[in-house]
């Protein structure tokens, strides 16, 4: 385990018709997570989240005038695991099988979570009411002592 950290991630929720979300061109500085037919979570680095929200709102309005785009950053808490054994350590937190890359939704540390895997790192988001719980369980599972350091997250450019 090279690093377990508190990930600072901006989250924008877009709710619109499935067809509109299919056609939406996602800004390059955002990672799109299609959590349902009619719902898209866009992850971005906190400094650019406002801009991502505005861009997406504009583009989506053209495809679905009834669409709703809201900054929901405060609704989520995230941790990131980086390192060779990040994937193996995931098995201590969840019985789900982690994909090589992409989105996984399901139960992690006994709470509903969105997991983004890829580029040698694993990002786990849970509703912010479970922030302390997630930190505690992840630290315990990975043998991490002390508080988690904050790390700004960004879409990887590789």
């Amino acid at each position: 385990m090279r690093e377990l950290a508190r990930a600072l991630v901006g989250v924008v929720t877009a709710s619109a018709e499935a067809g509109a979300l299919d056609l939406l061109l996602v800004p390059g500085r955002a990672l799109a997570c299609r959590v349902a037919d009619d719902e898209l979570l866009l992850l971005s680095a906190p400094p650019v989240t406002d801009e991502v929200a505005r861009e997406v709102a504009t583009r989506l309005a053209a495809l679905d005038p009834d669409a709703l785009v809201i900054d929901t950053t405060d609704g989520w808490a995230a941790i990131s695991m980086v390192g060779d054994d990040a994937r193996a350590s995931f098995g201590l937190l969840s019985r789900l099988e982690l994909p090589d890359a992409g989105l996984l939704q399901g139960e992690v540390a006994h709470v509903p979570a969105k997991v983004v895997a890829g580029d040698g790192r694993v990002l786990i988001l849970v509703p912010s009411i479970w922030e302390a719980h997630l930190h505690d369980r992840a630290a315990k599972a990975l043998g991490h002592t002390g508080p988690l350091e904050a790390r700004p997250w960004a879409v990887s450019t590789s």
Partner: protein, 82 residues
Amino acid sequence: MSLMVPCPRCGPRPQEEFTFGGELRALPAEDIDDFARVYLRRNAPGPQPERWFHAFGCRRWVSLTRDTVTNRIDPDVIPSGG
């Protein structure tokens, strides 16, 4: 140690990730006896149309058919309105 429920968006998931919505019930309608619709269930052995809510995942509902005798879910048999 669970029944695997096929969520069309998230894939097959352990049943603990879901809230069970029971037998698929008809929507209220003029020509349906509302008392029977609300309170009575078929509860028959064999394929049963059901509603499941993927609470730990996409948080959307799925209708599927589960055989109450074999406990097998056929992901390809999607029940209609009920």
